[in-house]
Symmetry: C2
Amino acid sequence: MTEYRESVRSLLKERLLDAAYERVTADGWDRLRMAHIAAAAGVSRQTVYTEYGSKDAIGQALVMREVERFLTGIGEQLDAHPEDPREAVRAAVYFTLTAAADNPLLKSILTSSRGGDDDLLAHLTTRSEPLLETASAMLRDYAAKAWPFIAPDPRDLAIETVVRLTVSHIVQPSAPPDVTADRVALALARIALLPEDREP
Amino acid sequence: MTEYRESVRSLLKERLLDAAYERVTADGWDRLRMAHIAAAAGVSRQTVYTEYGSKDAIGQALVMREVERFLTGIGEQLDAHPEDPREAVRAAVYFTLTAAADNPLLKSILTSSRGGDDDLLAHLTTRSEPLLETASAMLRDYAAKAWPFIAPDPRDLAIETVVRLTVSHIVQPSAPPDVTADRVALALARIALLPEDREP
DNA sequence: AGGAACTGTCCAGAAACTAGACATAGACTG
DNA sequence: CAGTCTATGTCTAGTTTCTGGACAGTTCCT
């Protein structure tokens, strides 16, 4: 009989993240106080610590929630081009890069002062393993189902490459989104769409 | 610091009503047990009683929630015909009657065995004061804002008449919705749209 | 009459939230 | 460089909310 309690917990977690999100995008991560989050969510500071053990954990959750939202949009982009992995990836990368440029949280992360190891940027760089693993896993599964004609090994390598390249370009763009999307899609094609990569 | 607690309470209330709704539309009000509601919502039976003091109160809340939903749709219909009260009312009544005919809860109420004084049908008939007052109040305010050129007294009378006629036709239709809507709109016009009803 | 099933009430115990105090650490200031 | 300020994270006693089992009263069925 815990189903109700779980939904209350997730309501609380969402409220806390919503509160954190609002202040982060307005003021920046370093000016965000645990007490602010608690007050904005209408809860005691202790409850924030009970739910997320630390401020850092909230940052992690904030980033991961945004990742999940991106992945939803990415899935829609991929679905728009069945049977054509290269075009699907091009569209998905383009969507990701343009959405990232407009995203309030990402803008805040990328423009805020690079403080220490516990700032939000770290979740995209030195501590990006959860992000990369979540995104890669989701896309690996997608690719396995949608593109079974590609051999598994090059397919998985291509996915990881696309994910890492895309994150890299979010953090440090080198060209406009359309150009980058083309180039990442080309990388995919070279890694996994050659004739010898076809499943026998 | 009660804002959070209130949102948890309303989450709970919604869950309970959702659970009740599902079983009422499937099985009927008389076969619905408080224990079912509790179990489906994932809480104890006591919690149901703490939130809604009785089974009857749940029935009331169930009906009133549906009324609120209807009023939302009705508002949209009215908005579609600014400056033309008669046509606005005709559209709103038509919408209400057709939506009522498709509504699972209303279908269940109107087809279930008429048990005692505590069944759901009573909330539309012998104990319909909350329904009528809620709907009339909302529409009175709407009319006062949207149709200030009608004198208050005939305007309020027309609103109450339209509300009561509509409820009456939901419970006991006498003609197809389009015919009824025309007739109710005509009643409105006769009560409140004569030249002498114009605000000086 | 007796039993079964349900509503509504009561209460002791468990779980979750609150609020205040406190240890610790880094930043700022005179 | 000592002292103050401010924040994070921990601890704990007290309150509110939910749980679950028992029970009285009612209705229906047999």
